[in-house]
């Protein structure tokens, strides 16, 4: 699929974990992070975190005693909770990649009320605000120390 250097078991485990971190929600009308489009984006985006993510997935499999994706749901929850306690920097890297792909998905952005587009070239509108708020500060005497 992509040049992600993960084994087939690691790919399955990563997808299962991603779906556990962010499951789909009917209430918010959003997919989970294990959604096919989002998960493919995750696999394409390992980049500088590839080694950490491999380490994290090896650790996850070691805690569970077998492939995480093969565990029963209850056991998965236990293993994921244990992993969250001890996963350290490799887990943080894994979660980061999941989040940075999830929160740029068009469906997710729309659910958040955000436009699914890059900042350029349209930009955004920022209100000027009430500059009269500065009046009490304008009235202050100079407050910097003078030097000879």
């Amino acid at each position: 699929m992509q040049n992600h250097d993960l084994s087939a078991d690691q790919v399955r485990d990563l997808r299962a974990l991603a779906g556990m971190i962010i499951p789909p929600s009917a209430a918010y009308d959003v997919p989970g992070a294990d959604d096919e489009k989002i998960f493919n984006d995750i696999l394409r985006s390992l980049e500088r975190d590839r080694d950490d993510i491999r380490r994290a997935l090896s650790h996850l499999a070691a805690i569970g005693g077998c492939a995480f994706a093969d565990l029963e749901a209850e056991r998965r929850t236990e293993v994921a909770a244990a992993f969250r306690e001890v996963g350290g920097a490799p887990l943080a890297a894994l979660v980061r990649v999941v989040l940075l792909c999830y929160y740029r998905d068009d469906r997710v952005m729309r659910s958040l009320g955000q436009e699914a587009r890059p900042p350029f070239p349209k930009g955004h509108v920022v209100e000027q605000g009430d500059w009269s708020l500065l009046d009490p500060v304008r009235a202050r005497p100079p407050m910097y120390r003078t030097v000879d």
Binding site: I22, V95, V126, G129, Y144, V147
Partner: protein, 532 residues
């Protein structure tokens, strides 16, 4: 061997660009060597849907994470603050927030006023015309009348307050504390060929609109038109010396990796407070066995960052998020020394507008605010676009234990020894940071925020690299004199943040550039007897 040039500048960032432009009117033959390349506006992250993700890859602020071929590694394991920089035409002005305060008059007289560190050999009044010239060249927006500063007139109106700024302004008024719209190098009107800001909101890793001033689009077009030659992808290994102990030029690796020797009458270093001492310490000769111009032993010592203490919270309505330049206000309420506090000197508050959707998710995940599972969605929606925060940017006093040396093992892709940092935050700074956090919590509470959190120091907060080749009149206690010339090598100049005596408590780019323009003027005024 290449033809000899009159002036050779190493580094094209904030100070290198300014000095190149200023010297260009001498009609000297001037060459600048830059290890990075030009960055096109279409390269910047805000052009694409992966705009936030690229802050973790090719536009990461930490060079060790970014690891472009044009970057050099930095051993920062022994520092709680990691270096932030960018290597390319424009240097770290490509990768900055454009927050543009000046140093204050008192910052140049800390020994006289507060009995700590050393006074600078120059003062605010000397730099004032260069501040103004630099404001014009970089294009500064802001508002005249700030009671925290001597009078000055930014050429463009200030950035908008927005929802976040107005909320902060009300809170500061409630507390009776100073606040003011920041001087910023983000154009709020069309300015000298630059289009005005359209609130892309992702300013730090480069502005696709060109509204943010970086020296590739401010000083460099003028300097190149005036005849300065800028060579990119040229990594300098060492400054060489002749039989008389004068700088004879530099050895560098060109874009093809071929070793070159560029002879020069004058060499000017503009590589920042880490890159400059690294280059000087790598420039070893029989005359200078401990690095060029290092008879004082101070090259690399007295490294100063500004420790940043970030405090933030969440309000109950959507604010500006990442829409708009991230920094738009400052406060100098706690800038000057107050004998009633348990620390000397002080800090600036800089107020943050907000962050983007991905940054919010990642920071909140790291902080344990985002649950896994179905609850994730509801929790996240109470955070996104609701963040307000402020940072205390604390004055860092010089300490010789804080230093840049050469790593014995780590090298860049050209085989040049990499810098190694040893740095600890001083007790004075820690007290200052604690004070800033406590005051920031008062501000956030007054602004209606809850769920308040702290990041102190900001880990990837080493934006400001200062003090490692300090300025002074005593050759035993300083590396360069009061106009940037090395005491030991009279045709070697330093114009970047290395020469700072103390750090102040403000973002340094404005003062770095004013100093570079002042040194360039000093050179021009002394051309007939520059080496006396």
């Amino acid at each position: 061997m290449l033809d000899k040039v009159d002036a050779l500048i190493v580094g094209s960032g904030a100070s290198g660009a300014a000095v190149a432009w200023s010297l260009a009117d001498t009609r000297m033959r001037i060459v600048c060597l830059e290890q990075g390349d030009w960055v096109k506006p279409t390269d910047y992250p805000s052009n694409g849907r992966d705009w936030e993700a690229r802050l973790f890859s090719d536009f990461a602020i930490n060079p060790n994470r970014r690891a472009r071929p044009t970057d050099y590694p930095i051993n920062d394991a022994n520092s709680p603050i990691k270096v932030v920089n960018f290597n390319g035409v424009g240097g770290s002005t490509i990768m900055y927030t454009a927050h543009f305060p000046r140093m204050h008059p008192s910052d140049f007289r800390v020994r006289t006023l507060d009995g700590v560190a050393d006074d600078w050999p120059i003062d605010y009044a000397t730099l004032e015309p260069y501040f103004a010239e630099n404001d014009r060249m970089m294009g500064v927006s802001g508002l005249a009348g700030d009671p925290a500063y001597p009078p000055h007139q930014p050429p463009m109106p200030p950035l908008p307050l927005g929802k976040s700024g107005a909320r902060f302004g009300k809170a500061m008024n409630q507390l009776g504390w100073h606040w003011w719209p920041s001087d910023s190098t983000i154009a709020t009107t069309d300015y000298e060929g630059r289009a005005r800001c359209i609130n892309l909101g992702h300013c730090t890793p480069g502005c696709a609109q060109g509204a943010k001033a970086s020296t590739d689009i401010t000083y460099w077009p003028h300097a190149i038109r005036a005849g300065v030659e800028l060579r990119t992808m040229c990594r300098v290994r060492e400054v060489t010396v002749d039989a008389h102990g004068m700088a004879s030029g530099v050895i560098y690796y060109d874009a093809e990796g071929k070793e070159q020797f560029q002879p020069a009458e004058v060499v000017i270093l503009a590589c920042n407070g880490v890159g400059t001492p690294r280059l000087m310490l790598n420039s070893v000769s029989a005359k200078f066995p401990n690095g060029i111009a290092n008879s004082s032993g101070l090259v690399g010592k007295n490294l100063m960052f500004h420790p940043y203490a970030l405090t933030y919270g969440y309000v109950d309505e959507p604010l500006d998020g990442n829409h708009g330049p991230p920094l738009c206000l400052w406060s100098q309420q706690f800038y000057e020394t107050d004998p009633g506090r348990d620390f000397v000197r002080g800090y600036t508050f800089q107020f943050g507008r907000g962050v983007g959707a991905i940054m919010e998710a990642i920071v909140s995940a790291n902080a344990g605010r985002l649950p896994w599972g179905e609850e994730h969605h509801g929790a996240y929606r109470k955070l996104v676009n609701r963040r307000i925060g402020l940072s205390a940017i604390c004055e860092d006093l010089p300490d010789e234990h804080n230093r840049v040396t050469l790593d014995p093992d780590l090298k860049d892709s050209s085989g040049i020894p990499a810098p190694k940092l040893d740095y600890t935050i001083s007790a004075n700074s820690l007290k200052m940071m604690d004070h800033g956090i406590a005051r920031a919590k008062e501000v956030l509470t007054a602004a209606g925020a809850s769920n308040i959190a702290v990041e102190s120091p900001i880990l990837n907060g080493g934006w400001h690299l200062l003090g490692t080749a300090r300025m002074g009149t005593d050759p035993e206690r300083s590396v360069v004199n009061e106009w940037g010339r090395c005491h030991d090598v009279k045709n070697l100049f330093i114009v970047d943040g290395s020469i700072w005596v103390t750090s102040g408590g403000v973002n340094p780019t404005s003062t770095i550039q004013a100093l570079a323009l002042y040194i360039a003027d000093s050179i021009k005024q002394r051309l007939a007897n520059l080496f006396d």
